[in-house]
Symmetry: C2
Subunit: 395 residues, 2 copies
């Protein structure tokens, strides 16, 4: 059973076919696990082997092609009928002799579409160079076209039911950040604190359980707060340590990310100043958000606040997010940065994370929000401040 | 600071260059995060953007190229000096205008190696078709060669220090499976049981903390045990449910996977029979393992046991594993299956998982082992049996 009503998958498929028609694509190969889930409901940790959906513009249902032992997962999680599930035998798996795209090529030939225009997600995770090389070699009469993000751009506007899922993820994010605040203490092992965070992420709330986020909790600590994507160690937290926590709540593969910075002591002036500027920037920027403005306008509002502070920030300050699988909860479509002219519309969801990383320290405070009819709504409510735990533990 | 002594990275690099020389490769692009870690120590959750190591056969150090905000992570986790860390600006990230491989191509041109033979991991995770297309377009005078698994085949034999790490991972796997057994109960939410498992995986033991495994706990339950790669839901376990748990302990990115099946009730005859056959197969096969035999000989021993049982098993029964990142802890080199003539050698490590999946049920019992001088040693000790929790809970 797929998670959404069939009508919702049909709408998504119709929109995908409209985009295919606009691009002149007859056959679309969908390898991004989030896009596979979006269109079929497929949900399993099998993206470590080659698998895909194939959408023929003139057929009603996509075909799922994957490994033999994963066909039952497609039966259990998709709305597709049995006749649309094709499985390759196990000797194609991580073999140096056979490649799953040979099977896919044979399938396309059998469907007599080997002269068609075939779209594929050239820059998606799990669509390897080898996939491309095998397909173009096996199907020399086909025309291949880059369809990176074709489905992602449809995903950018969420249905009300998707927003409901993301809000549930937001509730989990609140609890997980509280677990971080409660467990990050001088003398505690980083791994023990993250264990408590991960427990909360999966246990979820009394009303619903959590799913695995596409990124594990990030926990740069001490001087390593200069490096935003470091994970934890089993070192203990020390008096005075700054600790960055970036995490997400996840519900049925939908995310609500959140970042905060905790100081295990009294913050120094520089850290407090940076945090104050970031918070002012977030507040001012969130107030500016409404349908009709562009992503680059959002970033410009932020930049005007920060420019007068003397702090430099040369990265994008956010991105569209929602349904996803490892390694990223971002959707790879709209970014809050100069040059991005995507117009905000209701039911778009973003993670705004204007992190500041200097040579020996960093500060992250972020918010996830959904664009509403008149402004935006925060997805996880947690004190928007530099979190301070000044108490000194006696050994 | 990298995790291993510099001398160990040097040895790995020398072996890599030997393989490059054999293959006629002058420049090697290493994108697999496990291979990047293996050669440089690099360890951060930044593989969701394009990044790589470049190894020039005639230079002492690899170059790390990644996103600007991740350069500090390279400073903190690798043995490379600052001059070997190159970062692209943020406007290359998930952009439809610029691509990180354009930056890489410019780098190779600046190093005057644009006519060289360049090896790349064509079928590795995160080396996308777009990477290949941009590189071959930008460097038309270079010769590109598939170097998939070139470094993986070096990784297949572990150093003693790596074995020490994998054994620590085994200790964590034992604790995590115990947490599974203790928490999987009739009436308990699947998500609560997995929360307890994940807590244990990360908290590790009193002596050392755990790292994030490359795959989250898999938990097919009830009829869904027919589908091995399903994750949990927030449904509650029911009386009579079979539950498959596949998990790993992970220490400093090194894994020790383990699978068991729990029956929440009295096992039916069929399930017990399958489990008995699988256990007999594992016992017999493990006794046969020693240096000098091939992977296909290992599988043949298994197959002879199972053939007389009438149960069919058409998948590989195991694979080399160790250092890794999501989405897979397998190394993509040797598989225990017909045709694989890899000769077992001391300090190779495998996950033997002869799972049986039928239409409406499945049984998984697995063991991870290290090949020793005279046989093999199990990495995680846990009762090798169909686990039964027969007690009926009153509502």
């Amino acid at each position: 059973m797929a998670v959404f009503p069939n009508s919702e998958y049909m709408e998504r498929l119709i929109k995908t076919k409209e985009r295919m028609a606009q691009e002149g694509i007859d056959v679309l190969l969908v390898t991004d696990p989030a896009n596979m889930n979006y269109l079929s409901g497929y949900d399993a940790w099998s993206f470590y082997v080659h698998q895909l959906l194939i959408i023929f513009i003139d057929e009603d249902q996509p075909y799922w092609i994957g490994r033999g032992q994963d066909r039952n997962a497609a039966l259990h999680t998709t709305w597709l009928d049995q006749e649309h599930l094709y499985a390759y035998s196990d000797d194609y798996v991580q073999s140096e002799v056979k490649h799953p795209m040979d099977y896919v090529s044979d399938f396309i030939k059998a469907k007599k579409r080997d002269k068609a225009t075939i779209g594929a997600e050239f820059d998606a995770y799990y669509f390897s160079a080898k996939n491309y090389i095998q397909l173009t070699k096996n199907l020399p009469n086909a025309t291949f076209k880059d369809a990176t993000n074709l489905v992602n751009w449809i995903r950018i506007i969420k249905s009300d039911k998707e927003i409901e899922f993301i809000k549930k993820a937001g509730k989990i994010a609140e609890k997980a950040m509280q677990a971080a605040f409660d467990n990050i203490e001088v003398g505690v092992k980083q791994s023990d604190a993250v264990a408590a965070i991960a427990h909360t992420q999966i246990a979820g709330t009394d009303d619903f359980g959590g799913d695995y986020p596409a990124i594990v909790p990030l926990l740069p600590t001490g001087e390593k707060t200069s490096a935003c994507h470091l994970t934890w160690t089993d070192d203990t937290f020390k008096q005075g340590d700054p600790v960055i926590i970036e995490l997400a709540g996840c519900y049925q593969r939908y995310h609500s990310p959140l970042a905060r910075t905790i100081i295990l002591g009294i913050p120094d002036e520089k850290t407090q100043y940076i945090a104050d500027v970031v918070i002012e920037g977030i507040n001012t920027t969130l107030q500016s958000i409404k349908p009709g403005i562009t992503c680059e306008e959002v970033e410009l509002t932020w930049r005007k606040v920060i420019e007068k502070s003397g702090i430099k920030k040369e990265h994008r300050i956010g991105y569209s997010m929602g349904l996803n699988y490892p390694p990223d909860w971002g959707e790879h479509t709209a970014s809050l940065r100069p040059g991005d002219k995507t117009v905000l519309q209701p039911n778009m969801t973003f993670h705004m994370i204007p992190g500041i990383w200097l040579d020996n320290m960093g500060v992250e405070i972020s918010e996830s929000f959904v664009v509403t009819e008149s402004g935006c709504e925060i997805l996880a409510e947690f004190p928007r401040e530099l979190l301070v735990k000044p108490n000194i533990r006696l050994a």
